[in-house]
């Protein structure tokens, strides 16, 4: 046997370089055999009293060359980067535009800001580069020539996919219907609740049943809590908590006659809407109601939370969607969506769109980040009113009309069958009336709860293929689950932070125009403050109560006068600010004269 020299590790071609270093950083280094250029001070500045001996043989060293000027914007653009990232991927990871240092005060903070932007850009780029490491690709369904995807039946799809996926298509026939259903946040477990008391929780992927029991009471709604070991069931009068085994953990008597349940995982809030119009938020980590008030909307039947900001969207009977936060007793926003009563509403998982359906047989998609618009983004007209809606992680819309069910591959354009018409992507006729409709997170599966049981349908391309294990992990072990629970509890967001704009907390607290106007307006209605004066205690004989009272009155009067003068001054400045321009305009006009009538008349305004 001959020994071969061990392979050397390949050396990096270029020296390691920091991201924001330019070329000049490397070039300016002195490499003249270790000799360094020393600058001599002038004679009188040196700490040296002898004489200088001039050396002629030493040639004057050239000055170190100036670093090349910074590349201009044009050069930067023309020079291609080594591994460019596509613009749309960068856009996906971008947190908005750069902050321009133009208005920033002082050079120090300006430079700080520009340096910060470099780091942020680097972070965005690095995040975008991780796209390479994603393991899975999204599902898809393509029709052959002359066919449309809408023609395909579930059985056909199940035949053509792999065994593991075809096992995800199944039906459950149960007789305690109409059913309600929920998936856990990681899409692994399923909870079913039948109106006539049947509650079942199971791992739907392995089809392993956790528990099944009859509550011996009507069940209105079911909801998983923050871990797949606990869930809440809204029963006839109260809300009950059960664990995975079906043991009753709590009976929440403060939540009574609840119709709809929802859970905000980052706030640990169980939201409930009851049939008297009360909206309640229960903090499940401390067991306290953080908000409980009457919305004045009557029986709450339509309720979803916006995952982007945690605001609760409640659909009223008059076609109005109102948005609620637990700490504000008025709705944060109201949106008139339909002229008739509403039948269903949902918010997409990214929290960008609100989808509503009404008795006017319309389905409308609204942008809920921009609430000022008066038109929906899209408007579909159906033959029958949609009674259930849901949007998947990749933006697929599913809607049901009685027993008939349709999915559209694109939320905004509708359609998706692949032939350019507005035929649905997939359609299905169920054997009973549909009462619940949810896409399973991180899977290409649509769960349908009907009056007679549950159906799991295959909808290729609906789910997000790559999960983030630190956020939701379908494969988590019990130890990981416990650790995740602890971390989530440490990061529990207080309910006060539920606002329409979730990034408000990171912004600068600058007054809006409305607040400025209000502050100015308030100036005209201020009252003089009460003055509490304590007169100094004086020795006996140095002034009685009458004198003290008189002194007090004098001080009070002086203070009030001062206050009035200040307010008057402030008002004057405000008035001056707003009248100077108009006043100046008025002054420009020449005094009227009798001869004005001979001047040509100004042209009349055209009626538009």
């Amino acid at each position: 046997m001959t020994k071969t020299a061990p392979k050397e590790r390949p050396k990096a071609k270029t020296p390691y370089k920091r991201y924001f270093e330019t070329e000049k950083g490397i070039k300016t280094e002195n490499d003249d055999g270790g000799l360094e250029y020393v600058k001599l001070k002038s004679k009188n500045r040196q700490n040296f009293t002898g004489d200088f001996i001039k050396m002629n043989d030493k040639a004057k060293k050239p000055r170190p060359q100036k670093a090349p000027a910074k590349p201009t914007q044009k050069e930067l653009e023309s020079k291609p980067k080594k591994n460019p990232i596509p613009e749309e991927i960068l856009q996906k990871y971008s947190r908005g535009e750069q902050v321009q240092p133009k208005g920033v005060k002082t050079r120090h903070f300006k430079e700080k800001q520009t340096r910060k932007e470099v780091y942020l850009e680097y972070a965005t780029e690095q995040a975008a580069r991780t796209e390479l490491l994603l393991q899975e690709t999204a599902g898809q369904l393509e029709a052959d020539d002359g066919e449309t995807t809408a023609e395909y039946r579930q059985s056909q799809i199940a035949e053509n996919v792999d065994l593991q996926s075809s096992a995800k298509h199944f039906n459950l026939n149960m007789e305690f219907g109409p059913y309600q259903m929920r998936y856990t946040k990681n899409g692994r477990h399923l909870l079913l609740g039948g109106r006539r008391g049947h509650v079942a929780a199971f791992d739907w992927v392995t089809k392993r049943l956790h528990c099944e029991f009859n509550a011996m009471e009507s069940v209105e709604d079911v909801q998983w809590l923050h871990v797949p070991t606990m869930y809440a069931v809204a029963q006839k009068t109260w809300v009950y908590f059960y664990d995975k085994k079906g043991t009753e953990l709590h009976c929440i008597k403060r939540l009574n006659r609840v119709n709809r349940l929802d859970f905000l995982p980052y706030h640990f809030l169980l939201a409930a809407g009851n049939n008297a119009g009360y909206a309640s938020w229960l903090d499940v980590s401390i067991g306290e109601l953080v908000g409980n008030f009457n919305t004045g909307l009557g029986d709450i039947r339509l309720m979803r939370h916006n995952p982007r900001n945690g605001v609760l969207c409640i659909g009223g009977g008059r076609g109005v969607v109102s948005m609620w936060s637990p700490k504000v007793r008025e709705p944060l926003a109201k949106l008139l969506c339909h002229s008739t009563a509403m039948t269903a509403l949902t918010v997409d998982p990214k929290g960008q769109h609100l989808v509503t359906a009404g008795l006017d047989r319309a389905v409308k998609v609204w942008d809920i980040r921009m609430l000022v618009q008066d038109k929906p983004l899209t408007h579909f007209q159906l033959r029958l009113a949609a009674n259930e809606l849901d949007v998947s992680q990749r933006g697929m819309l599913a809607l049901s009309q009685g027993t008939y069910l349709e999915t559209y591959s694109d939320l905004l354009s509708g359609g998706g069958s692949g032939d350019g018409t507005r035929l649905p992507y997939l359609r299905q006729r169920c054997d009973a009336f549909v009462h619940g409709l949810r896409f399973c997170p991180y899977e290409d599966v649509l769960g349908v709860a009907t009056a007679k049981g549950f159906q799991s349908l295959l909808v290729p391309g609906s789910g997000e293929p790559n999960f983030d294990a630190l956020e939701d992990n379908p494969y988590e072990t019990s130890k990981q689950r416990r650790e995740h629970e602890v971390h989530a509890l440490l990061e529990k967001i207080p309910p006060e932070l539920i606002t329409l704009d979730p990034l408000e907390i990171t912004g600068v607290d600058a007054p809006t125009l409305q607040e400025k106007i209000d502050a100015k307006r308030k100036l005209f209605h201020v009252k003089a403050p009460r003055i509490n004066m304590k007169s100094r205690h004086k020795m006996k004989g140095r002034g009685g109560t009458a004198k003290a009272a008189r002194n007090k009155q004098i001080v009070k009067d002086a203070k009030r006068k001062e206050f009035i003068a200040e307010v008057r001054e402030a008002k004057k400045t405000v008035i001056n600010q707003h009248t100077t321009k108009e006043a100046a305009k008025g002054k420009d006009k020449a005094p009227r004269s009798v001869l004005d009538r001979f001047k040509p008349k100004p042209p009349k305004k055209q009626k538009t």
Partner: protein, 445 residues
């Protein structure tokens, strides 16, 4: 029909044996991480709270002196070595790693006024009230040998402080005059005087090494150059300065600890107004020392507390105190920037962490990453009122709190009075004087 569905192979997501790490696939898509802002804010809030929970700055107490501690000498090369002098003339050398006194000897009759090491750390110079300068070896004598000074210099003048030149074999003492000495001679090379009785403290500039600064009993700060025959400049404050420390990184700046509860940072090029006035102490400030980074300094005060300041901020970033610590006489910042020392009247030397909530001991890489992340979070959200309140709050002793209240009322009263005087006098007669300019009387060249 072409169809594909998400179908994950569990092998890619579940570990095979217990010896392996769990597989944690990540996806940084912002859509999968909602509520970024509020979650980060909560994390920052938690980090700030934890910072206060773990703020336990006291490391240890070094006891052994039999009288109050008067001065410190830092070893320029060894981190675990500290020399301290006491009121009874005793000098102790401490082994800080073992928290024990490694050597002690009586150096002077009466107070030890100053201790300094030579720049190579081989000798120790001490000055005392007995008008002598003594030179000692830095190593402990052999077993059986007595502690004998290598050299004893009798000075003609009283001595109050000593400072060693950073680069040359020269040192300077102060007392009635400022004297420059060579290590090898028993007579001063030069004496410098500017018509004052006593110079309390002397300090060589660490960068421009021939510049010296002294604090004098006529409330002035005097700058000398050891090459010149005359002093350079002088600035007079309203009250006496007790100690002076040069900023080691921005060596044109120095800070003085003043009798009027404040510290003043001066730029040598512009002595008329201090760069910064550092408030917060409630009694005379006795000593000041810079951190080796030049970004922070520590001050000890007669109000029984030590405070840590950011060199460019006017209010302290932290306050250290214990029930038993009496008037602090001397303070020092260790040369690795991690610890501070305080010597006080009740004979103890105390060692504190420079960063109150820092974890001592080995820190694992993941822990280090977490600490860095928490630090960044705290900085990012520092301006939020809730976080600011928690980060700023300090429990102070009752007497300090009362004194603060009293000082506040006095200041308010003066402001009201000045405003009233201004109101009732001719316009421009009572000018507005900034807090910085109030405390400097004059500058002389």
């Amino acid at each position: 029909m072409k169809v594909k569905m998400i179908s994950r192979n569990p092998d890619n997501y579940v570990r095979e044996t217990k010896l392996q790490q769990h597989k944690m696939p990540r996806n940084y898509d912002p859509a999968l991480h909602p509520l970024e802002g509020p979650r980060e804010y909560v994390r920052a809030l938690n980090a700030t709270k934890l910072d206060r929970v773990f703020a336990k700055p006291f490391v240890c107490n070094l006891s052994g002196h039999r009288d109050g501690v008067s001065c410190f000498g830092k070893h320029p090369k060894q981190l675990s070595c500290l020399a301290t002098g006491a009121y009874d003339g005793e000098v102790r050398i401490w082994d800080l790693a073992n928290r024990a006194s490694s050597r002690n000897f009586v150096a002077h009759d009466g107070f030890v006024r100053g201790i300094t090491y030579t720049q190579d750390g081989g000798r120790i110079f001490t000055v005392g009230d007995d008008k002598t300068i003594k030179v000692w070896k830095a190593e402990a004598p052999e077993v059986g040998e007595d502690e004998v000074p290598v050299n004893t210099i009798l000075s003609k003048f009283g001595l109050h402080g000593i400072s060693h030149n950073r680069k040359e074999n020269k040192f300077a003492t102060c007392g009635e005059v400022c004297a420059i000495w060579d290590e090898k001679h028993n007579d001063p090379l030069k004496t410098l005087k500017w018509g004052v009785d006593t110079l309390h403290t002397i300090s060589y500039n660490p960068v421009e090494t021939s510049i010296l600064a002294c604090c004098a009993s006529d409330r002035s700060i005097i700058l000398y150059d050891q090459r010149e025959a005359q002093p350079l400049r002088k600035v007079v404050l309203t009250m006496k300065s007790n100690k002076l420390a040069w900023n080691p990184m921005e060596a044109f700046n120095f800070t003085v600890a003043n009798e009027d509860c404040n510290l003043y940072t001066f730029d040598t090029r512009k002595l008329q107004t201090p760069l910064k006035v550092h408030f917060d102490h409630v009694s005379a400030v006795t000593d000041v020392d810079y951190s080796p980074t030049g970004k922070e300094f520590i001050s000890g005060s007669y109000d029984k507390t030590i405070r840590l300041y950011n060199a460019h901020h006017s209010h302290s970033r932290d306050i250290y105190h214990t029930k038993r610590m009496q008037h602090v006489v001397c303070v020092a910042w260790s040369l690795d920037n991690r610890y501070v020392f305080s010597g006080s009247d009740e004979m103890n030397v105390r060692m504190w962490k420079a960063n109150a909530s820092e974890k001592l001991g080995v820190i694992r890489p993941r822990e280090r990453v977490n600490f860095n992340y928490q630090e960044a979070l705290k900085q990012k959200y520092a301006a939020h009122p809730q976080i600011k309140r928690i980060a700023r709050h300090r429990q102070v002793p009752r007497h300090v709190l009362n004194a603060q209240k009293k000082m506040r009322t006095v200041k308010e009263k003066e402001q009201v009075k000045e405003a009233n005087v201004r109101k009732h006098s001719k316009k421009g007669k009572v000018p507005f004087v900034s807090e910085k300019k109030k405390h400097v009387l004059k500058e002389e060249v």
